[in-house]
Amino acid sequence: MTTLLADWLEIVLDAVNSLIVNKMRSALTMLGVIIGVAAVISLLSIGAGAQASITQRITSAGTNLITIYPGAPRERGVRGAPGSSQTLTYDDAQALANKSAVPDAQFVAPEYSRFGQIIFGSQNTNASVAGITAAYQQVFNLKVQQGSFITEEAVKRRAKVAVLGYQVAQDLFSDSNPVGQKIKFSAGGRKATLTVVGVLQEAGGSIFGSADDSVFVPISTAQMKLFRGRNPQGKLIVTSVVLKAPTETQVDAMQSEVETLLKARHNLSPADTEDFRIRNQADLLATASGVAETMTLFLGAIAAISLLVGGIGIMNIMLVSVTERTREIGLRKAVGARKGDILVQFLMEAVVLSALGGLIGILLGVAIARLMDTTGVMTAVVTTSSILLAVGFSLAIGIFFGIYPANKASGLSPIEALRYE
């Protein structure tokens, strides 16, 4: 067993020695594999990073949420502008909050939001003004930095109070304390003055748009004082309702309860097209990670092409080497080398080239991924599977592209090879 190992070690050393003889050529050939492997690893890392950050953004809001929007999933004819549907009313939201109708919902957060101009002193910003209820805080796990959140009391009183998202507070107040200050609101000719009661902690992005860029007001205030939140029938409307189930497993049950309730409330038979849309986090996650996976695959495939080109480079140089060393092959055969000995010798050279190139490529690829990640250019996650893939792929390429030249070498007849000039 040890002699066998020693034999292989000798074969590897011989391969390394003969590659050292042509340093420049070997290095250039390896470069093809190095670039290919580094590209595979860094691009797969970027793909994995994108996927991780998308997943993180979606799950940070919780995977036990569903969101109901007004409007049919597919409307005939011309589709209205987003948010222009007025089929979801505040009464619907109230009904959804009824525990006996939707037992699997823990929190129900209706929202009525529009964009508006927010002014403080000389500073002004265009922000999403979100009319919400107290449940909104629980649903999205929002943390208050200063002051307090919108209370049920404020919703009842239609109080002209506002809670500022982190970024809005930064933009308008810089470092001074906004709590207690009065800000001016203006949209569509309506003007109002709001008292800041709280500022949120930085939340980071989520797929719902960031809470950091929003101004939160009581939903009743938004519907009746800041905007006109009524449909032609005079009912108060909402732009969305978010429901939170206690656990992820209850999401499906909650969703069907919601569907049943809303269809009944909107007098729709089971065959009718719904006039509302339900999005759940799991679907969203599946869609988003599906997209990210496709992107990763696409990037990986492009990188794999360069690895393939590197492999062809190996084959090319090995063919040259076989031709150059025809006499050597003849001599080796004359002194007793068998077909297999020559095959292994040349195959090992190709494998050493690709394996060494693969190793350097891994280091380079990981370095590139780390660099991009730490400099913040892109989120990159180096996965073990991408490294294993690159190692396996580069070895496979060495064997695949080495086998033809090695076979050619081993098939040479000793006399032909000895005669070769």
Binding site: T3, E328, R332, A334, G336, A337, R338, K339, L418
Partner: protein, 255 residues
């Protein structure tokens, strides 16, 4: 012609090489080239044979067949009583490794490889079950280099050796597996007369002391004059087979 002409006094009558009606035909595109057209001869163990003939006479082909580098198209070739004409390429490789040592006109050393490594090469391919351990290969190669007087050049590469020294390394390489037969193809063809004489002296010694069967292909009358037997080839046939025992060097007969 007496096809089993041999020197019993030298070899005790043991025929190491027996060729019977050996023919070799090459297909060169449309044309068939008959390199050998029925060669029958026997060479006894310990004999020193010189093969002569003009180019195209088939002497190289004959060498290749005797050296198991090539297979005959027809006929029988028995090496030590074993039919090798029908052996597989792998079996022939074993025969070449164990029984035959080659010395070429152009030395055929590996570039950028030390003399010691050159000589170790055939042992690398020797296998009776397991391979020969590295240390043993090294010591055997060292002994072979000593035998050709190049022990002090073991670390030198071909580029650092004179032509004569390179050919001596090649002889050491041919010797290292203790073959029964050494086949030399114009061994002095690329050497000046002094180096050529050195090389011939080594071959002479091997023949005399180790009783190695020596087959030399040469154009050089002086070299073939040293042989105990001269085989002339012409157009793929043996046209002359002369024993010249009377020219033996003293001590060469061992009788």
């Amino acid at each position: 012609m007496d096809r089993l002409r041999r020197l019993d006094s030298l070899a005790g009558g043991v025929e190491v090489i027996e060729l019977k009606d050996i023919a070799k035909t090459y297909q060169m595109g449309e044309v068939q080239v008959h390199a050998l057209r029925g060669v029958t001869l026997a060479i006894a163990a310990g004999e020193w044979v010189s093969v002569m003939g003009p180019s195209g006479s088939g002497k190289s082909t004959l060498m290749h067949i005797i050296g198991c580098l090539d297979k005959p198209t027809a006929g029988s070739y028995r090496l030590n009583g074993v039919e090798v004409g029908t052996m597989s390429a792998g079996q022939l490789a074993v025969v070449r490794n164990h029984q035959i040592g080659f010395v070429f006109q152009a030395f055929n050393l590996l570039p950028r490889t030390s003399a010691l490594k050159q000589v170790m090469l055939p042992l690398r391919y020797s296998r009776d079950g397991a391979r020969i351990p590295l240390a043993e290969r090294r010591s055997r190669a060292m002994r072979a280099l000593e035998a050709v007087g190049l022990a002090d050049r073991a670390k030198h590469r071909p580029a650092e050796l004179s032509g004569g020294q390179q050919q001596r390394v090649a002889i050491a390489r041919a010797l290292v597996t203790n073959p029964q037969i050494i086949m030399a193809d114009e061994p002095t063809g690329n050497l000046d007369s002094h180096s050529g004489e050195e090389v011939m002296e080594i071959l002479r010694t091997l023949h005399r002391e180790k009783r190695i069967t020596l087959i030399i292909v040469t154009h050089d009358e002086q070299i073939s004059a040293e042989a105990q037997r001269i085989i002339h080839l012409h157009d793929g046939l043996v046209v002359g087979d002369t024993s010249q025992a009377q020219l033996e060097r003293p001590g060469g007969s061992g009788a």
